[in-house]
Amino acid sequence: MVYEATLMVAALLFLIGLAMALLRREVLFVLMGIELMFNGAGLTAAAAGQYWQDSVGQILVLFLMTVTGAELAVALVLVYLAYRRLRVTQLGDIRTLRDAPLLAEESGP
């Protein structure tokens, strides 16, 4: 069996995806990185199904594809809305979700 090679490829895909998600600035590329990580996970599931001689792994991949598709639809809408409302395409420019301790202290007693 060659599932070691499959697992290696899967891990590689996952790591490349992770690196993309963490390092790229463009929101769309981050999304692509996340999709790559999904693919790595799916490949691992297929390899595991092969290892245990079980069809569950392949079924899981099919589910994963469906869910990923749905997730991608939502994510793309979010990217679109971020562009339309905030006029940003760079991840670093979206900083609305942050703690503002100075503001909180000033409004306090």
């Binding site: 992770l18 963490l22 991840l91 979206i94 900083r95 609305t96 979700l97 942050r98 703690d99 301790p101």
Partner: protein, 621 residues
């Protein structure tokens, strides 16, 4: 009937619970009827106790084991013997009459539900206190009475002064309560039991520690003085008159303030082992009765005068206890409950007739407009003044004065007591003459009295005049039912013999008449505008309030303010709370550094956290 003893305190308790929980669904007029019905059930149960052996042999009922620790336990146990039967009869029957009077007296008021809940709860507390067979349950009843007394004095709490009076009563009696609690702790530490029967049994045994017994007796005396408003803790009772007159009648005349007398009578074997303390009881009573008599003489507030007279009459009971005449003290307690409840309730009606005016200098001539009220007030005054032969007060008070002469330093005690008798008669008739006779000095309105007010007053007036006929003075060839009946439990009171007895009795008869003459003189002066009420030392009750204010209250307040500034502001708020706030704020600032809105950093931290968690579960375990 032992199985039904619970009904006696249970009926008012159930009434209080019902009114507290479901009273909101009733019309205000129905609240009083429910409360009176609960007391009626209780009064009937007490009547059944008289029918069934009248407390001899003593009846017991244990309802519930309250506390059980190792081999020691305290139960909710009730006990009725002759002594407690006297007290529960007073509480239930006088209580019933006062509830009846309240029906129309309190009809125009606010807070009826609160009033009746606490009135019922008070009666339940008094009955628990009297019927308790152990000191813990007795203390529960004692405290329940204190709570209800506080709540009812401040019944009209929207008047800040009345709320303050309630707090004063509560705080001053608390000193006595604390002393009683300490006495109970001491007794428990010494004898390892709280059951009254077992304690009194242990007292007749050998090897008693005189020091401990003296301490216990002194503490109980202080507790009794607090509850019964004797010197030095008498200052709360005159201010307790801020409550409705019915409350003064029930709590501050008939029942709660006599709790101290009952407590000492109940524990009299303990006091007999320490004769010095017992004599101190007599001295406290004798001094108090003269002090309160003098103060009562100079009051111009109708209710305050009667309040001082209550202090004075309880002084007679303490004197009776102190000279060993326990039965006579209880007799005076019973007659006093009747005539003092009568006086307070009719004083309430008088005050209503004058539209809330308490000052007797602005009354006068009410007798023509309210003949019935005048008659019952006269009956009460006759009994209070102990006018010879006709009034119950004579038969209950004069034997105490006589018995005082037999005690150690009897001359001193007798002298104080006979002075008090003159004063009693003087202030009683001063009030009566100022209110009901002479030219009107104030505007009285028509105050129609309903039957539910007339009936209790009438019953109490008859009792004030005739209750004495069960117990004639010693050596008279007439029955001595009361002391004979109580003798198995309290012994026979000391008596004088021969020519001395005749002289003492004649003096005892002359004193009230001298008092009436004094009253006539005083009233003439008062009407002319130069009355004793302008004598500051008497009118203020010997400046006792001002003294306590200067010695205790102000220093304590100053101490509290100092502590607030030094300890609370600087140490607690400044150092401890401040450092806690500083730490929390600093930690929050540190944590909030990570929350800077940088999405990539959030994701990195998530990955890092995930690696740590997964790594921990894969390799570290």
């Amino acid at each position: 009937v032992s199985d039904w003893l619970w009904l006696v305190p249970g009926a008012p308790l159930a009434g209080a619970a019902f009114l507290a929980l479901l009273g909101g669904y009733l019309r205000p007029a129905a609240l009083g009827r429910v409360a009176a019905l609960a007391i009626l059930a209780c009064a009937v149960a007490v009547g059944a106790l008289w029918g069934a052996g009248a407390g001899a042999p003593a009846l017991h009922q244990t309802l519930y084991t309250w506390v059980a620790v190792g081999d020691w336990q305290a139960s909710i146990g009730l006990r009725v013997d002759r002594v407690s039967l006297v007290l529960i009869s007073v509480a239930a029957w006088v209580g019933l009459l006062i509830h009846l009077f309240s029906l129309s007296f309190m009809a125009q008021d606010y807070g009826e539900r609160r009033y009746y809940v606490f009135l019922n709860l008070f009666v339940a507390g008094m009955l628990v206190f009297v019927m308790a067979d152990n000191l813990l349950l007795l203390y529960l009843g004692w405290e329940a009475m204190g709570l209800c007394s506080y709540a009812l004095i401040s019944h009209w709490y929207r008047d800040a002064h009345k709320a303050w009076c309630g707090r004063k009563a509560f705080v001053v009696t608390r000193i006595g309560d604390a002393a009683l609690a300490l006495a109970i702790f001491l007794l428990f530490a010494e004898y390892h039991t709280l059951s009254i029967d077992a304690l009194l049994g242990a007292l007749s045994g050998p090897d008693l520690d005189a020091g401990v017994l003296t301490g216990v007796a002194l503490l109980i005396l202080l507790g009794a003085a607090g509850k019964s408003a004797q010197l030095p803790l008498s200052v709360w009772l005159p201010d307790a008159m801020a409550g409705p007159s019915t409350v003064s009648a029930l709590i501050h005349a008939a029942t709660m303030v006599t709790a101290g007398v009952y407590l000492i009578a109940r524990l009299h074997p303990l006091f007999e082992l320490v004769p010095g303390v017992l004599w101190l009881v007599a001295l406290v009573g004798a001094v108090t009765l003269v002090y309160a008599g003098l103060s009562a003489l100079a009051q111009h507030d109708l209710k305050r005068a009667i309040a001082y007279s209550t202090i004075s009459q309880i002084g007679y009971m303490f004197l009776g206890l102190g000279v060993g005449a326990y039965g006579l003290a209880l007799f005076h307690l019973a007659t006093h409950a009747c005539f003092k409840a009568l006086l307070f309730m009719s004083a309430g009606a008088v005050i209503n007739a004058y539209q809330g005016e308490h000052d007797i200098r602005k009354m006068g001539g009410l007798g023509g407009r309210q003949p019935y009220l005048r008659l019952v007030f006269l009956a009460g005054s006759l009994a209070l003044a102990a006018i010879p032969l006709v009034a119950a007060g004579f038969y209950s008070k004069d034997p105490i004065i006589e018995a005082a002469a037999t005690a150690r330093h009897g001359g001193l005690l007798w002298g104080l007591a006979i002075t008090g008798a003159v004063l009693t008669s003087a202030y009683a008739f001063r009030l009566y003459l100022m209110v009901f006779h002479g030219a009107p000095r104030g505007e009285a309105v028509a105050y129609p009295m309903a039957w539910s007010m007339r009936l209790p007053l009438g019953v109490l007036a008859v009792a004030s005049l005739t209750l004495g006929f069960v117990q004639f003075p010693e050596h008279w060839p007439l029955p001595h039912l009361w002391t004979d009946w109580l003798a198995p439990e309290l012994g026979t009171p000391p008596a004088t013999h021969g020519a001395a007895a005749v002289l003492l009795q004649l003096a005892g008869m002359a004193a009230p008449l001298a008092g009436v003459a004094l009253a006539l003189v005083l009233v003439r002066g008062e009407r002319a505008g130069r009355g004793v009420s302008s004598v500051g030392v008497l009118a203020s009750g010997g400046y006792l309030d001002a003294m306590y204010d200067a010695v205790v209250v102000r220093p304590l307040f100053a101490l509290a303010r100092g502590l607030q500034r030094l300890v609370e502001s600087w140490s607690l708020n400044g150092a401890i709370v401040g450092s806690l706030v500083w730490t929390a704020r600093g930690a929050s600032r540190l944590l909030s550094l990570t929350q800077d809105g940088n999405t990539a950093r959030y994701a990195s931290l998530m990955v890092l956290g995930l690696i740590l968690v997964v790594g921990y579960f894969l390799w570290m375990r």
